[in-house]
């Protein structure tokens, strides 16, 4: 299997060369199959993951088993920020939503690297702020916005993280993420397809008209995107 370069992850890419060279021998490339649980809510974290071409959903799980997504993490970020916040355990479950791979670093090594390269901590802290923005916006979106808009937001956030216009995903998965019934997602996806914005065929969604998809999404997508780009030092070109 070809290993994607670690620099495809924006956090790793933001590090100075010397810091990268020092860090890379400690990174382990891990395959992330669909549905893999990186950690359960309440679990003690041992690793931080830097996705390169996979997407991980952070889910809040209720005691009834129902769950809702509070954030998505892909090549713009890292999974396991609690590790360096001093929280040890996490309130959410992290599960792979789109298969691919990631680079993994042990918590102990991460802390040692912080002492050596201040930059790594700074980039991770800024990323945490963008994650907070995403979580807050998701709360708003769940409360206020129509399912069709939420679906557009969800597709856009996912696609940005894959840098692709195709997503392998079932409607059932989307329903679980947005926290609605599957029938609702089927209808919403059907409407987007009729408008020529997406094409949906068995477990695969292809975006045909991205500007239109952005126009149909609620403002939440742009808020999260702008803030993430700003904090991570990227600008829309």
């Amino acid at each position: 299997m070809n290993r994607p370069a670690p620099e495809r992850n924006h956090i790793l890419n933001a590090l100075p060369l010397a810091a990268r060279e020092h860090l890379y021998p400690h990174l382990k490339h891990v395959v992330m199959p669909f549905g893999m649980v990186l950690y359960e809510s309440g679990a003690v974290l041992r690793h931080i993951y830097f996705p390169v071409d996979s997407i991980v959903s952070l889910l809040y799980v209720l005691s009834s088993g129902a769950s809702a997504e509070i954030a998505v993490v892909g090549n713009e970020g890292a999974v396991g920020v609690s590790l360096f916040m001093g929280g040890e355990t996490t309130p959410s479950r992290a599960v792979v939503q789109s298969a691919g791979s990631a680079y993994r670093l042990s918590g102990a090594r991460l802390k040692r690297e912080f002492d050596r390269h201040g930059q790594l901590l700074n980039v991770l802290l800024r990323y945490t702020q963008s994650l907070i923005t995403q979580m807050a916006q998701t709360a708003v979106c769940n409360r206020h916005h129509a399912l069709d808009q939420q679906l557009c937001r969800w597709l856009l956030l996912s696609l940005d993280r894959l840098e692709s216009n195709e997503l392998r995903v079932t409607q059932e998965l989307i329903a679980n993420m947005i926290g609605v019934r599957r029938e609702g997602v089927t209808e919403a996806a059907g409407r987007l397809q009729k408008l020529g914005v997406i094409r949906y065929s068995r477990g695969k969604i292809t975006v045909l008209d991205r500007p239109r998809l952005e126009a149909l999404s609620c403002e939440c997508y742009a808020v999260v995107k702008t803030e993430t780009d700003r904090l991570m030092g990227l600008h829309r070109g």
Binding site: A68, R126, Q129, I132, A136, A139, E219
Partner: protein, 233 residues
């Protein structure tokens, strides 16, 4: 201000003397009015606030609808998390919900203190973790739980932050905080009143039966409280 007074804010109260003193060099006590906006989304954070006996709602504003409350900060916390993370702007606004006293520290000075003191930085990052946990719960609670449960939780959270069983609140304000229509809030509040848990009269809510309210609340309240005690130990 006496240290005992400052220590009413639980974050300040747990700082070492050295860290507390350096923070206080560029700080002042401020009395916050209800409805004052002490942090504006998209603008630079000018000060961090450590509430002593006031409560500040964190709101995310949307284009065409009323803002949504994503958090409530009182004596257990602080306003200005972005600065801890090295960001100068906040994506949420801070609106004073219950008036009172807060201790505020100038933003640049606060960031300098973080750079200078590893223990302070660790303490503050731990609070960021708490804050993220609260956000996580807020998102799912809004999504899944019934209005009455959420109302009970919100009243308990407010009472904890103010250390008072009396809250000055209108139904309109409550609706805003819970993100629902006023009629819904009125109905839910009436339900709690009929069960003898609260006494509501124009702009004023008194918590009569805390135990009862805790049972009426969703599990989020107890869980969050337990987690805070553990994380900030």
């Amino acid at each position: 201000m006496m240290r005992a007074e400052l220590a009413k804010n639980l974050l300040l109260g747990r700082l070492g003397t050295g860290d507390l003193h350096s923070l206080l060099l560029e700080s002042e006590p401020v009395t916050l009015r209800a409805g004052a906006k002490v942090m504006v989304a998209g603008q630079k954070v000018a000060h961090v606030y450590f509430p002593i006996d006031c409560a500040i709602s964190l709101l995310v504003e949307t284009g065409d609808r009323p803002p949504v409350e994503i958090g409530l900060v009182g004596r257990e916390g602080m306003l200005g998390v972005p600065l801890i993370l090295g960001a100068r702007q906040s994506s949420a606004s801070g609106l004073v919900q219950a008036p009172g006293l807060a201790w505020r520290v100038e933003a640049g000075h606060f960031m300098q203190c973080l750079r200078d003191s590893e223990p302070l930085r660790r303490r503050m990052q731990c609070y960021v973790h708490v804050y993220m946990t609260q956000l996580t719960e807020a998102a799912s609670c809004k999504h899944f739980h019934k209005l009455t449960e959420r109302l009970a939780r919100w009243l308990l959270m407010s009472a904890d932050r103010l250390q008072s069983s009396e809250l000055a609140l209108t139904h309109e304000y409550l609706s805003y905080m819970l993100g629902v229509r006023r009629a819904g809030t009125t109905l839910a509040a009436r339900g709690l009143q009929e069960r003898g848990l609260i006494d509501y009269s124009r702009g004023h809510i008194e918590l009569l039966d805390r135990g009862g309210l805790e049972s009426a609340s969703c599990a989020c309240y107890a869980r969050e409280k337990k987690r805070y005690a553990y994380l900030m130990r």
